[in-house]
Point group: C2
Chain length 244, copies 2
DNA sequence: TAAGAATTTATTGTCAACAATAATAAAATA
DNA sequence: TATTTTATTATTGTTGACAATAAATTCTTA
């Protein structure tokens, strides 16, 4: 399954993963990426205390670069750091996830507005083709959630990457979407229906195609706040189950 | 003049400066704050190449903490960093400033919407009092631009600090507003009229007072995009002058 | 025995030396 | 003379040791 996604991303060269810079020139960068993935996938569990010397040993580097990596992880909200006291991996409570989804609603909505003005017709055609591909892959592989979520990310990424505001792109790509992936790992066991999402996506692209920035923004906002309502519900159910 | 602002901020405990964390427990934090101010005020000029050993010497620390400070400065977009090649102070060209103002429009607009729902009546009363104070201080000290700009920041800060989204507050306060202060230092010699801004502010607070989040957001957005149009004009004039 | 103070241990913050890379200058060739 | 190649220098990346602080433990006393 993972392979299929990988190949697809390479083929059409517009997948999320292929477009991340992933510059690992220095040791610190490399280990940053590694720890980031380990946190997002849960290999290093949430709330886990981080001891610099231990972690440095397990990644086979010295404390200097590790420290730089931790600083970077702090700047994208994946670890908390208190002077003299040490670092912990963040715990994604419901409040934090709400904050993230709200941010996403605001920023991606605005990015969609900007992209609607800036996109070429070729870009829009690409978007339609992307959605058609998602549609057919849903028919073919009903229930294979991982792929569908990646497809969802591909769509969102393609849209906001055309907004021509580097700050916006950077923040969405390097900060919000990392935490979002972490959220998804937490809720990945829970099935959800993708057809409504695809329907939303078509509506958004239609608005872009009609060059209606206000509508495009509103639709993207609703799409995201709708997604949050689903996630919130699931989290609340989970919480209730645990407290019993 | 500076003193007056300072006293005012302490007295009512709602100024921008008093609410920034400013934790300088470690050497690295301390020097981070120092360099940050030096960049924002222009003591270290834009586009300036940064040599770690030199800078470490001039701040009387070793390269370790300096490096951490530089990383932090990079994460708030105040320096650019390329592996093995070194760092430079950013140069605020018109594109970057447009990006920042766009971000601000999106995020502060959304923050205003959230704050409109979350604010207590006491908060709103405080806002009205703050505006009245600004109004009278404009009458008293016409033309003293520094104070007026600080007053403007106080207003904006007070609003978005009530949005109850820690990510949003953090981003606006620690990233966007730092670059914004840098912009203002660049354009500080240029006079501008504050009465229209005050009028906008009243309209925004009225919308909040009527508990109309949509309108509050729209008004805040217009207020900020209007401010950008003024700044953009000034920058273009400046550019034309230089190219002659 | 329980609470508080003093001591020890563990962990982070800082430093200065070393290695690796990129920018610069010098030399060689066309 | 212009251009490529080579050597030099300057600057960053990395490391391990040391100092300062916080957490844990032991000891004392009520």
């Amino acid at each position: 399954m993972l392979n299929l996604v990988f190949i697809l991303n390479i083929v059409d060269n517009m997948g999320v993963n292929s477009l991340q810079p992933n510059k690992q020139d220095t040791l610190s960068e490399h280990v940053f990426e590694q720890i980031k993935e380990d946190i997002i996938t849960g290999a290093i569990p949430q709330g886990c205390k981080i001891v610099e010397t231990d972690l440095a040993k397990s990644y086979h580097i010295s404390r200097g670069p590790l420290r730089e990596a931790l600083h970077k992880l702090e700047s994208i909200h994946l670890v908390d750091r208190r002077p003299h006291s040490g670092s912990r991996v963040v715990t994604l409570d419901i409040v934090m996830m709400r904050d993230v989804y709200q941010m996403r609603e605001a920023m991606e909505g605005f990015a969609t507005r900007l992209a609607c003005v800036a996109m070429s017709q070729a870009d829009i055609d690409n978007l339609y083709r992307l959605l058609e591909k998602h549609e057919s892959s849903i028919e073919r592989s009903e229930g294979q959630r991982y792929f569908q979520k990646e497809g969802d990310l591909d769509f969102h990424y393609y849209v906001f990457s055309k907004c021509q505001n580097q700050w916006l792109i950077d923040y969405l790509n390097n900060k919000l979407y990392q935490v979002l992936r972490m959220c998804r790992h937490r809720t990945s066991q829970i099935p959800f229906r993708v057809e409504p999402a695809l329907h939303d996506h078509y509506a958004i692209v239609d608005a872009i195609n009609n060059r209606d920035p206000e509508l495009a923004e509103i639709l993207m906002r609703r799409h995201i706040s709708g997604a949050w309502k689903v996630v919130e519900k699931l989290l609340n159910q989970e919480e209730n189950k645990e407290s019993k």
